[in-house]
Symmetry: C2
Subunit: 202 residues, 2 copies
DNA sequence: GTAGCGTGTTGAGCCTGACTCAACGAAGGC
DNA sequence: GCCTTCGTTGAGTCAGGCTCAACACGCTAC
């Protein structure tokens, strides 16, 4: 590729590399990503990538954090809504993200869970954040959450991820509104089974 | 290691390598497993491993299949039990396996989901098998399962995996009986939310 | 015994891809 | 116009996956 090499600022170069890395991951998966390929596509030397990311793993973690951060931003809860509406809005935003970036999402959910230790941590942390948000909607008094509720929240997040991936795989055959309704139902069922107060239906 | 090298039959050698591979995976993770290390521990040349498993990935897949097969065998449903009892028995067996081989289990659930394509398939297939078993308990007439029920079953399996991993991570603080009770509750909640007949409580 | 044969096994070496390092060169300040 | 800064280079090292032609062990036949 005879692209003319250009000198970029640290931030620009870093952003460019992450952008390219995301494409590569979308096209294949995390563990198939090659640093050489990224460098080639960026039109830089092989060595430069390691000036920004000391290790291939660091690079992958940066990619995962970038994608996860984007997901978390776009699904940030609207505190002004009552709990149930908030959950529904969160699910809608989640599905927006997922349908827009389905390749990246699947790569993240299915690829970052395993793989290197660092990736697992990012995945873990993201799932935790999502679970916390759900619990925050309940714990109005800011009380301690017991194990059962915590398990319910985490389990529900996992259920949602799995269902959404399955839904994508069936070409979204089920209407999206029905899917959201069901996911809301499952949330209520999981949480109330775990002893959550029923007034979360506010 | 001055162990005397011995000539083994194909099946013996293969079994030995898988056994060693499982140890390595337990000790670290799938993607950190090194074929050289396995060969060393087995006291064989580096080349021989590739005589049995043409590719590192093939070896990892064989390991995952071995572990997944073991899990499926040990949790095989007892057809003579009524649905609800069968589910409970399955969960008990599942927890037996998980507590016995927690390292391997976590490596499988958290490591095989991502990583190479082949590993993902094994993980996928195992989750599907577990979901099918749950649906089999319902579909007495052998009718078609609609998307909602299929999603519920798959989602529930994912929920269970996540909850169990979390439970292990909290040093099994919650009593095991309570965990089983809750998991049964969640199963009923998830399935009936998806429109399963209520007479699955037989 | 020894000649042959099937097959488990070897070990040197290739090759890809992650990673290093000393030196180069394009902006900006003086 | 020189100097300092720092993004950048590219040749090279190293680890680890993978190959291949030859070897050696156990066996049967003569």
């Amino acid at each position: 590729m005879g692209e003319q090499r250009k000198r970029l600022s640290r931030d620009e170069r870093r952003a460019q590399l992450i952008e390219i890395g995301r494409h590569q991951v979308e096209a294949s998966s995390f563990d198939e990503l090659s640093t050489d390929a990224v460098a080639d596509e960026a039109g830089i030397s092989r060595g430069l990538l390691f000036h920004y990311f000391p290790t291939r793993r660091d690079f992958l973690v940066a990619l995962a954090e970038d994608a996860a951060g984007e997901l978390l931003d776009l699904t940030a809860p609207d505190e002004s809504l009552p709990p149930l509406e908030r959950l529904r809005a969160g699910l809608e935003a989640y599905l927006d993200y997922v349908t827009t970036r389905s390749d990246l999402y699947v790569a993240l959910v299915r690829g970052a869970a395993g793989g290197s230790t660092g990736l697992q941590d990012v995945f873990e942390a993201t799932r935790s954040r999502l679970a916390e948000r759900i619990l925050d909607g309940l714990a109005l008094g800011g009380g301690e959450v017991d194990d059962a509720l915590a398990f319910a929240a985490r389990g529900y997040v996992a259920l949602t991820e799995e269902v959404v991936v399955s839904w994508l795989r069936t070409d979204q055959r089920m209407p999206r509104e029905e899917l959201v309704d069901r996911l809301v139902q499952w949330a209520l069922a999981a949480l109330s089974s775990a002893g959550a107060p029923d007034d979360l239906l506010t």
